[in-house]
Amino acid sequence: MPTSDNSKSLNLKDIKPSEENTETNGTEVFQTLVIEDIKYKTRLTKKFLNRKVYQPADPKKVLSFIPGTIKKIYTAKGKKVKAGDKLIDLEAMKMVNTIFAEENQSIAEIYVKEGDMVPKNQLLILFK
């Protein structure tokens, strides 16, 4: 996937390694890193290849902002909630955090039940 020379924006796609671009120098096979339209032959690190790809926040999704335990669920699938209504109590680090609705919405799906242990950024509730 070679990048076109006239691409001005430097998005993540531009600096992905591409097999077409690998080249052999002696015994080592190098990968390509594109910076400011220049393709450099180089090694890519594990950390670089595993970097987190950016995902914009989705207002339809409620994610756990901290890992913890679901203490209480105040609503149910199909119900309507108003801005300011309580949705879920998430206990983490010895504190109970209440998650409130930000807008008037209706619940499409709840993905957890009381007592569940959730990691960070897990989908808890999906709005319609």
């Binding site: 020379d5 006239n6 001005k8 993540l12 600096i15 910076i35 690190t45 970097r51 950016y54 242990m117």
Partner: protein, 536 residues
């Protein structure tokens, strides 16, 4: 009856039946008996357990690290101060830590080693007192401090007193920072407070499969978060050396680790008022590391910059620091004409040598270390700039990248810069340019000092011509070529005096040695201040 109970009972008995006028020889044999008891550490069983995991005991470690027969121990008879939870009946030899003085390469050091066989090397009040006492010695005597850490963390039974102990150690680490060299060796699982003291010291050493460091261990993570991870994956030596950058030297065995420490100690001065001891000068092994062989002129081709460093430093002997972390920048010690210098070099072999969050942190800290300990800096520049990407921006590459600017600007040791190939944009400024007060900037004829790479620049400057051309691709190529010829060279910068000399690569060693020699007594007036506010 367990040893400690037997001992406690005997001691109690002695207190009441003590014959007040023993002969000298019986006093001496009494001393010997007490010493033997204390030197047994946690007892045979615990020692066997320690050895079964491939670890040396605390005392063996000290003896292996220091010059032969140089170790002298103090505070052997210190006893723990725990009063609650039936601790008062327990006997903990030396309270789980061995402290003393000795020599490395015939220079004096203060040292402590936590003894895992005694209550898991846990840190109680008196344990901490022994450590802070030897730290105070090191500061008074202005000699290096080496800490061998093998501790499960705070001794829970001693409650807030063990926290107090940690606090006292952290305070002294900070006070001593930049005054005496502080070296931490992690030789066991170190959790919680036990890892913060090493984090405050200059260099941290780990050994594969033996060292583990974390703030909260796998058990806590499992109960609180439900995530399962092994100690090794969470904070093993390799993770700390490759991923976190918390440590500086990685070894396969404890003996290799001690050799690394001795080698490092040969490069650094004993305190911040001194300079590192010079060594007999030796030329580099040029046949193996001829610049002609290791250095490609095409700015897009990678090469190992360590070979270039070896091509110019004494005996081609380069001690790399943090060789597994953020490999897109190389830092370490070498000698020029016998004198220690700190090398900082972009590594085109990895990520094209870009500056990013990790490599900026790594370089900036090393620059500040060298500045604090009077070690001149030699910087080799070949980078395309800062790494673009959302992850980098969101990780705060602005703040981290600024550390390099801060560290170089702040440093008052002699600063010599050699620009070998690319020096584009912000990367050019950051890598010890004359604007950040490099004393001498040399450029090879292959240097490209420009605001950005020719391709990117041509696309912006000649956008209109390219878009409007009949054949945009050809026009672009022509414009890139035009820009390359005009700006991708060292002579534009040299014309403004930003580069002091354009030199041929073979001259580099002589030029750098001369520059270092004449700036040996460099003095810089810094504005009066308590301290700056670096972008931590």
């Amino acid at each position: 009856m367990p040893v400690h109970e037997e001992f406690a009972r005997a001691r109690k008995h002695e207190l009441f039946t003590n014959k007040r006028f023993m002969s000298l020889s019986s006093k001496s044999s009494d001393l010997k008996r007490r010493m033997q008891e204390a030197l047994r550490g946690g007892g045979d069983k615990a020692i066997q357990k320690q050895k079964a995991t491939g670890k040396l005991t605390a005392r063996e470690r000290i003896i292996a690290l220091l010059d032969a027969k140089s170790f002298h121990e103090y505070d052997l008879f210190v006893e723990h101060a725990g009063r609650d939870f039936e601790m008062s009946d327990k006997y903990l030899p030396g309270d789980g830590v061995i402290t003393g003085t000795g020599t490395i390469n015939n220079y004096p050091v203060c040292i402590f080693a936590q003894d895992f066989t005694v209550a898991g090397g846990s840190l109680g009040y008196m344990h901490a007192k022994k450590i802070t006492k030897i730290m105070d010695h090191a500061m008074k005597l202005k000699i290096p401090l080496i800490g061998i850490n093998d501790s499960g963390g705070a001794r829970i039974q001693e409650g807030v007193n063990s926290l107090a102990g940690y606090g006292e150690i952290f305070f002294r680490n900070t006070q001593a920072s930049g005054v005496i060299p502080q070296i931490s060796v992690i030789l066991g699982p170190c959790a919680g407070g036990a890892v913060y003291s090493p984090a405050l010291t200059d260099f941290v050493f780990v050994v594969d499969k033996i060292s583990k460091m974390f703030i909260t261990g796998p058990e806590v993570i499992k109960t609180v978060l439900g995530e399962e991870i092994s100690m090794e994956e969470l904070g093993g030596a390799r993770v700390q050396a490759e991923t976190t950058g918390n440590v500086h030297f990685f070894a396969e065995s404890e003996m290799e680790c001690f050799e690394q420490i001795k080698k490092l100690m040969s490069y650094i001065p004993w305190n911040n008022q001194k300079k590192a001891e010079p060594f007999p000068k030796k030329p580099p092994r040029v046949r193996q590391y001829s610049l002609e062989k290791v250095f490609p002129t095409n700015p897009r081709q990678p090469y190992d910059v360590k070979d270039v460093i070896r091509g110019i430093c004494d005996d081609s002997d380069f001690l790399e620091v943090q060789d597994l972390f953020a490999q897109n920048i190389v830092i370490g010690f070498g000698r020029m004409n016998g004198y220690t210098v700190g090398f900082v070099a972009n590594q085109p072999l990895v990520l094209a040598g870009v500056l990013d969050v990790d490599s900026s942190d790594k370089a900036a800290r090393f620059i500040r270390y060298c500045d604090a300990f009077n070690i001149p800096l030699v910087t080799l520049v070949d980078l395309p700039g800062y790494l673009p990407g959302v992850d980098q921006e969101h990780a705060g590459v602005i703040r981290h990248g600024a550390k390099v600017l801060y560290a170089y600007s702040e440093a008052t040791v002699p600063k010599i810069t050699v620009i070998t190939r690319k020096a584009y944009g912000g990367g050019y400024i950051a890598m010890c340019s004359s604007h950040l007060r490099a004393d001498f900037v040399f450029a090879w004829p292959t240097a490209e000092i420009a605001v950005m790479g020719p391709e990117g620049a041509a696309n912006i400057i000649f956008r209109k011509e390219i878009v409007e051309a009949e054949n945009p691709d050809e026009m672009r190529k022509a414009k890139i070529k035009e820009y390359k010829e005009k700006f991708a060279n060292p002579f534009v910068a040299a014309a403004y005096g930003y580069v002091d000399a354009v030199i041929s690569p073979e001259e580099t060693r002589d030029m750098v040695i001369h520059a270092l020699a004449i700036s040996a007594d460099k003095k810089v007036d810094v504005p009066l201040k308590k301290h700056g506010i670096p972008p931590f």
